[in-house]
């Protein structure tokens, strides 16, 4: 099962490698990992997408909690939550492709954020499947390069991860 684990961690050097090292040492899978400081600069928030049985996910949360720098851990996929990912795709945009690409961006509510004579950079945010859908909707031969952030997630409504 796919899980989205969110955690607050002291914003100290080496903290990230403690988390990633835990996953590699114990043979857990990391699908994506996103991290940045929060509004409280002393703390970073991480979103880890992982897969595993209930037992494995229980161990992952327990082991993460055990790290001295980890302040709080929740599995936000246990209840209603929102996930977002950001993708920047550079596509070839010449001739008739230029109009076509613009139309596709509109359909997906993406934004064209860089324009040259021959290319566009398209910015798209959404959950994983929306980004996947965009990639499969456009002509793959036109994609010059593409970069995606990891998943960033937050619980809906009253579910708040804060100290």
């Amino acid at each position: 099962m796919r899980h989205v684990i969110s955690l607050l961690i002291e914003n100290e050097s080496g903290a990230l490698s403690r988390v990633s090292g835990l996953f590699s040492a114990r043979g857990y899978n990391i699908e994506s990992l996103t991290v940045a400081p929060t509004e409280d600069a002393s703390m970073s928030r991480m979103t880890i997408v992982t897969t595993g049985s209930d037992d494995i996910i229980e161990q992952i949360t327990k082991q993460l909690n055990k790290l001295v720098e980890v302040v709080k851990v929740v599995d936000i996929s246990e209840a209603a939550h929102i996930e977002r990912e950001l993708m920047l795709t550079k596509v070839r945009a010449t001739g008739k492709d230029r109009e076509e690409m613009k139309r596709m961006a509109e359909i997906f509510r993406a934004r064209i954020i860089d324009v040259t004579d021959t290319s566009y950079v398209i910015e798209l945010t959404g959950n994983q499947s929306k980004l996947d859908a965009f990639i499969s909707a456009i002509d793959p031969t036109l994609i010059l390069e593409s970069v995606r952030s990891g998943v960033c997630g937050v619980g809906r409504g009253d579910r708040i991860l804060k100290v």
């Binding site: 080496g14 490698s17 403690r18």
Partner: protein, 569 residues
């Protein structure tokens, strides 16, 4: 008061009431050694290899309730220490390791004797720090000691660059430490404890299974009281030996791979299992699938939530300090009128005693050749069962754990988790320094002792009257046993050729060496050794080469599939 970083390090150790530091000097820690030179509160023990420094600090901690301290230099000093650190980590031993690092400006420049110590040790410490500012030293060392000994104990490393130890700042030792991200649970959940007590009272085939946590939490007294109050059978793991008196009737011996028949059968066929400070290690329960075949309710008490439901499913988890939880269980039992059902318990004991009557620890003694079990039995008799016994890793370790009966905690020191050969002698050094009047015996084998034999030199310098009992069978005994049983008797590289004359070797280091070849001489040699109160005596027992450790549960098998003796093969 303005002090250098190095002086601050020493002042911190003084504040923590550290009496011994085990270490080895080098370039990156020269300022710290200079600061050591100018005081006499913290005594330094110069080992001959950094691995031994950490093991000795670890042995010191295991034999006391205190934190062990090791001091090593950067690069090779730190990498040599890693085996010691990993050993302490696996057995949750409180140790603080201070390592020197190249100057801050040189970090990352591939400087001479530079290694990423924090990176290398990260997976085998409870926590580690790189101190980049002299103003952080005091606070960091305070945190290190606090982390090492609270919650689930473990090794904590503090890496200090050379220039930081030379810089100066105002020294003030913090009184309190609070970390928002680190708050170990001490009190067990009341409701869960009530549920556990209820289950224990309803049990028909109860069993108590305890591990090293009982020793670490100093909860042996509470465990003994609870076990007697309930009248249940009890087993202590290799790490938990001495947590309950081995000579008591309710004690069934050790469980697991080389545990007793009665302990393993009672573990397997119990209907309620109370696990205290034990983690269902593969060496204890064998194959978890086999273990799960028999339906039973499990109550698991542990300070570390991640140990609960890691290998087996647990019905009543209780997170907390073992002493507190056991005390609360005793309180609830004593307050209530209910007692365990005497009929069910009587029938269960009848069954347990039937298992016990197999006398699985019997062995064939000989007048011709020394049997290792016999040596340990005699060691137990000669020391009155009250020695601190350290062991290395292998067959001798198992014989020592099986045939020396530990009635008190902190008398048995060995590397249970990591299984590190070479710990025995450094553990004995740490234990002897911490307990100057105690009889300290190191049970070892000719292969294990050679992994840190250079420490005979340290023992000479500090006049440590350790008794080394070398069970010498000229083989990597446990490897040979497995090769015999599971590899078609192909003894690949398990034979120890060209052994030194250990008696002479001991003499070369300035100690007393004895070579014992006949069973009739075993007791006399041990008596002579322990009578020499001020000497280290190296007893080189020439034992039966073919002796195996029984009973045995083969790796991957279930607890009830035991080989009781060579006849079972």
């Amino acid at each position: 008061m303005v002090l250098t970083g190095a002086e601050i390090v020493i002042r911190c150790l003084q504040e923590e009431k550290v009496d011994y530091v085990f270490g080895y000097p080098g370039g990156a820690v020269l300022y710290i050694y200079d600061a050591l030179f100018n005081q006499d509160k913290v005594r330094h023990v110069l080992v001959r290899h950094e691995q031994a420094a950490v093991h000795a600090a670890d042995g010191y901690a295991r034999s006391t309730e205190k934190v062990g301290v090791a001091l090593v230099t950067s690069g090779p000093g730190a990498t040599n220490a890693v085996t010691g650190i990993a050993t302490a980590y696996t057995d949750s031993i409180p140790v603080v390791i201070i390592s020197g690092q190249v100057p801050t400006a040189a970090i990352g420049q591939d400087a001479f004797q530079e290694v990423d110590t924090v990176g290398i040790t990260r997976p085998c410490v409870k926590h580690n720090f790189l101190v980049k500012d002299v103003r952080d030293i005091a606070n960091t060392i305070k945190k290190a000691f606090y982390l090492a000994k609270t919650g689930r104990p473990g090794p904590v490393l503090v890496d200090i660059p050379k220039d930081v130890s030379a810089h100066k700042c105002e020294f003030e030792y913090p009184k309190e430490i609070s970390m928002r991200s680190y708050n170990p649970v001490i009190k067990g959940h009341q409701g869960q404890i009530r549920k556990a007590v209820q289950l224990l009272l309803e049990a028909k085939r109860p069993m108590i299974y305890t591990g090293g946590g009982v020793v670490l939490a100093n909860a042996a007294e509470q465990l003994t009281k609870l076990t007697r109050l309930l009248g249940f059978p009890i087993t202590n793991t290799l790490m938990g030996l001495g947590g309950y008196p081995a000579s008591d009737r309710q004690y069934l011996g050790m469980p697991g791979m080389h545990g007793t028949y009665e302990a393993n059968m009672a573990m397997h066929y119990s209907d309620v299992l109370l696990a205290v400070g034990a983690r269902f290690d593969d060496r204890v329960i064998g194959n978890p699938d086999h273990f799960a075949e028999e339906p039973r309710k499990i109550i698991h008490v542990d300070i570390d939530p991640s140990s609960i439901s890691k290998r087996v499913r647990v019905d009543v988890p209780i997170v907390g300090d073992l002493k507190e939880v056991l005390e609360e269980m005793i309180r609830q039992l004593e307050a209530g009128a209910a007692r365990p059902n005497p009929d069910a318990l009587g029938a269960w004991w009848k069954q347990v005693d039937e298992w016990r009557s197999r006398e699985c620890m019997k062995y064939k003694n000989s007048d011709e050749i020394i049997k290792p079990q016999f040596v340990i039995q005699k060691l137990w008799e000669v020391t009155g069962g009250d020695a601190i016994v350290t062991s290395d890793v292998g067959q001798h370790q198992m014989w020592a754990s099986q045939y020396y009966r530990f009635d008190k905690p902190r008398r048995w020191l060995n590397s249970g988790g990591l299984g590190t050969m070479g710990v025995g002698l450094p553990y004995a050094m740490g234990a002897q320094l911490a307990n100057p009047g105690a009889q300290v015996a190191c049970v070892t084998g000719e292969a294990s002792i050679q992994m840190n034999i250079q420490e005979l030199s340290t023992c000479k310098q500090f006049r440590l009257p350790i008794k080394i009992c070398n069970l010498n069978n000229r083989y990597l005994g446990m490897v040979r046993q497995w090769q015999q049983l599971f590899h078609g008797e192909r003894y690949s590289e398990s034979y120890m050729d060209s052994l030194p004359d250990f008696a002479k070797l001991a003499e070369a280091y300035g100690h007393v060496g004895l070579r014992i070849e006949r069973p009739a001489d075993v007791e006399g040699a041990l008596r002579e050794a322990f009578a020499r109160k001020n000497d280290l005596v190296f007893l080189d027992f020439q034992i039966d080469q073919t002796e195996n450790v029984y009973p045995m549960v083969q790796g991957g098998k279930g607890l009830t599939e035991m080989i009781l003796s060579a006849e079972d093969l």
